[in-house]
Symmetry: C2
Subunit: 415 residues, 2 copies
C-alpha cells in the first residue's frame, strides 16, 4: 500500500516554516505498514494543487493532504478539492457545533468565516476535529482515498491518531514493514560500511540497509518488506545481530530512540540521577532530556550558567579558576561538573563550556572550541573539541558529544 | 526564475528525519529573488529519482538536489545522474585532495569508497566541499541548471553559501521578491482577518497576504513580486503600515524574527538583563534564547529546577510553599521568579512550572496545567494556563506564553 503526502502552503515554499508534519505522518503510516512514495510541498495555488493531486493519484493509493483549511483568503484547499472532485459543499452539523463550542470557550463572537469552517465536501466522511475549527475530510474516489487535514501540527496529529489511522487499518489488509535501527557513535559511515560489507552483500532483496549519519553518530537502519510480520522480525534480527557482533564496540543502542533516551533508560534501570551544568549549550542538553516523559525519575535539573558570575553562584566555580584559565577551559568545566554533583546531589553530571560563535573567538580559543566534562562522585572525564563556525551546529555537536561522553563513563562504571 | 528542490533519501520518507534542508534552502533562494515552485522528497530509488528530475525540469529553471552522495550502497544519486544526463564520471583532483586532507586529519586510512567520493559527472562544474568528502555538482543542461549537494545539513549549507548562491546571482538577472512580516499575539487568525478585511481586499494582485498561525501567535506575511525592489519595498511598507495601524495593540514585531529575539533586542537596547527559572519547560526557554548570537549581553543564565529539591537549592523556593501549594502553583512560580531576580542579580526573570504530561496529572491539576510568572525587581505578573495533553506542545506553548508575558511586562515598564 502506497501513500503520498501533499503539504500545501506558501510558508513552506518560502522557507518560513519547516515541514515537520510530513515526518510525523510518515512515521505513523510506516508503523501500520504503509510506505510513503513521495512527499510534495506545493504553494497555495489552485492549478498547482490540482496537478499534484492528479499526479499523486497516479502513483499512490492514499493521498494525505495538509494545509490550506484556515478561514482566511489564502486558504484554498477546500475550494480546490470541490473542483477536483466536481462536487459541492454542505454544512456539517457536528462540525458547526464544534466551532461554536470553541468560540464559546474563548468568549469570542462567531464570524461568517468561522461558520464556513464547518462546511465540508459533499462526497466526504467528515473527520471531526476537537482541537480546532477545521474538520478533516475522508474521500473515496475512483479506488483512491484522499484525506484532507489542517496544517496546524497538533490538529493534524489529533486527526491522524483518532480518525485517519484507525480508518486506514479497518479499510485495508496491510503488508508489513519492519525496521531495526542500530545507533552507533565513534566510527565514520564508510568505515562501518567496510566492516560489514560482506553482511550487507548477502542481504536478501526484500531487506534494505541504510546509513544515516548525523554529527558524530551513524544510525544503521535495516528495513524488511513482506507479508508476515513475525517472519520479517526474525529475519531482520538475525541480520541485526550479525552487524552488532561485528561493530559492537561502537553500538550505543539497538532501539530507535535518541541518545539521551538511551541514557535515561540506562540510568533509571540502575537508580541513578543526573544534573547538567551548561554554558555554551544554553539549556539544549536539558531540553533534549526533558522532552522525554518520566525523565524526572533520573534528571534533577541543572544550571544554565551563561555568565561568569552565574558559574560562581550556581556551581561554585572559583573566581581564581575563571581568572586564570577562562570560562572555556578544562579547569572551569571540571569545576562546573563537580559543582553540579556536589550542589545538586546527583550521581552523575554533564558540564559544557565553549565558544558557540559566530563571535567571541580568541587566537588561542577560536570559535568552536568546546570543553566537556562528565563526572560522578569520584571520577571526572574531560575532553576538548574543536568544532566549526556555525553556532547551531556547535551547540548540537557539543550536546551529542557530551551525551556520548557521559554514556562512556556510565558503561565504564557499570560494565 | 523558478526553482524546485528534490530531497533524496528513504530516511525522509519513513519519517526518521525531518527535512530541515528544504526550508533553509528556500529562504536563501527567496532572498535573492528565486521562487520555489515545489519541494519533493523521494526515495533512494533510481526510477523515482529519474522521474522527479524530468518533472522538475518541466516546470522549473533551477533544480536543486540534496542527498544520496554518501559512500555507501544506498547512496545512488551520482549514478542516477549519469543515467539522466547520459554521461560518465571522472576523478576531480581538487576533490580528491580534499578527501585525503579530511582523512589525514582524523588519521584514518583511505578506503576505495572514499576515493570514489572524488568522482564527479563529466558534464559538471565541481563545487568543492570543504566540510565533507562529497563534492557538489553544477550542471547546465538544455537550458536548465541542476545542482547536486550532499544531504548533511552543514555540508549543504556551506555549498549553498559559498558556491551555489554566488553562481546563481552571477548567472541570472533576477526578479525581486519582497516580504514583510508582522508578528502578532493575542488575537485569532479569523479576527485579525476580519479587522483588516478592507485592506486585504484592496491589495493589488502582485501583493499577497498570508496568515501563519502558530500556538497563540499569528504572523501576517505580505509578499510583493515584481522587477523593481525599491518600488516593491515602498508599496509593501505602505500596506504593512495600514495593517499595523489597524491591529497595533496585538503587534509584537514588524521584523520576521522569533519572539525571543524581539525581546533580546528590546532588552539589549535598554541595557537590561534576564534570567530564567524553568521547571516543566526543562531548559527550552533558555535554549530558544541562547540560539541567538550575542544573547549573553542580556541573558545571564538560569535554573532548570526540575526536582522539588533544586527549586529550593537553586531558587530559594521555601519547603513550606512547596508542601502547602505544590510545585505547580502561583505561589511556587512566584517564588521561582523572585528567587531568580534576587539570586542571579538580573533585571527581569521568567519562571514556569507545570505538568507537561502525559503523566503526573492530578484531579485539581490535570496534565497541561501551567503557571507562569514574570518579574522585575518590584513587580510580578502571574498567569495560569490550561493546555492539552501533548508534552512537546505543552512545553512549546508554555515557552511562547512565558515570552509573551515577559514582553507585556517590558512594554508596561518601558511604554
Amino acid at each position: 500500500m502506497l501513500a503520498e503526502i501533499i503539504t500545501i502552503g506558501d510558508e513552506i515554499l518560502i522557507g518560513q516554516i519547516v515541514d515537520t508534519n510530513s515526518a510525523w505522518m510518515a512515521q505513523k503510516l510506516n508503523d501500520v505498514g504503509i510506505q510513503i512514495k513521495q512527499i510534495t510541498s506545493v504553494s497555495d495555488d489552485q492549478k498547482h494543487i490540482l496537478n499534484s493531486l492528479k499526479l499523486a493519484a497516479s502513483h499512490a493509493d492514499i493521498i494525505l493532504i495538509t494545509g490550506g483549511l484556515g478561514p482566511t483568503k489564502d486558504d484554498i484547499t477546500k475550494k480546490t478539492l470541490t473542483e477536483y472532485f466536481n462536487v459541492g459543499m454542505h454544512e456539517d452539523e457536528i462540525a458547526l457545533e464544534n466551532v461554536k463550542r470553541i468560540f464559546a470557550r474563548f468568549n469570542s463572537p462567531l464570524l461568517d468565516v468561522n461558520i464556513r469552517q464547518a462546511e465540508v465536501l459533499e462526497n466526504c466522511i467528515t473527520l471531526q476535529n476537537k482541537n480546532g475549527t477545521a474538520p478533516g475530510m475522508w474521500i473515496e474516489h475512483e479506488g483512491k482515498i484522499y484525506i484532507s487535514m489542517p496544517g496546524v501540527p497538533f490538529e493534524m496529529m489529533y486527526l491522524m491518531e483518532e480518525e485517519v489511522i484507525p480508518r486506514i487499518i479497518s479499510s485495508y489488509k496491510l503488508p508489513s514493514i519492519v525496521h531495526h535501527t542500530i545507533l552507533t557513535a565513534g566510527l565514520g559511515e564508510s568505515f562501518l560500511a567496510n566492516k560489514i560489507e560482506d553482511i550487507e552483500n548477502l542481504l536478501p532483496s526484500h531487506i534494505k540497509l541504510a546509513y544515516l549519519p548525523k554529527l558524530g553518530m551513524v544510525r544503521l537502519r535495516l528495513s524488511a518488506y513482506g507479508s508476515d510480520k513475525t517472519v520479517l522480525e526474525k529475519e531482520i534480527s538475525l541480520y541485526a545481530s550479525q552487524i552488532v557482533n561485528r561493530v559492537g564496540e561502537y553500538v550505543i543502542s539497538e532501539v530507535d530512540i535518541p541518545l539521551e533516551k538511551v541514557i535515561l533508560d540506562f540510568m533509571e534501570a540502575r537508580g541513578l540521577t543526573l544534573a547538567t551544568a551548561e554554558s555554551c549549550t544554553g539549556g539544549y542538553i536539558s531540553h533534549l532530556i526533558t522532552q522525554h516523559p518520566g525523565c524526572s525519575r533520573v534528571f534533577l535539573g541543572g544550571a544554565v550558567s551563561y555568565s561568569y558570575e552565574l558559574k560562581q553562584i550556581m556551581l561554585g566555580v572559583t573566581p581564581k579558576t575563571l581568572a586564570k584559565y577562562g570560562a572555556v577551559s578544562e579547569e572551569t568545566v571540571k569545576e562546573m561538573a563537580l559543582g553540579a554533583v556536589k550542589t545538586y546531589k546527583c550521581d552523575y553530571s554533564i558540564a559544557v563550556s565553549g565558544i558557540a560563535g559566530p563571535d567571541g573567538g580568541m587566537p588561542d580559543k577560536p570559535v568552536g572550541t568546546v570543553w566537556i566534562a562528565v563526572a560522578n562522585k569520584t571520577k571526572t572525564i574531560t575532553q576538548k573539541y574543536q568544532f566549526g563556525n556555525r553556532r547551531a551546529q556547535n551547540i548540537e555537536r557539543s550536546a551529542i558529544n557530551a551525551l556520548v561522553l557521559l554514556f562512556k563513563l556510565l558503561k565504564e562504571d557499570y560494565r
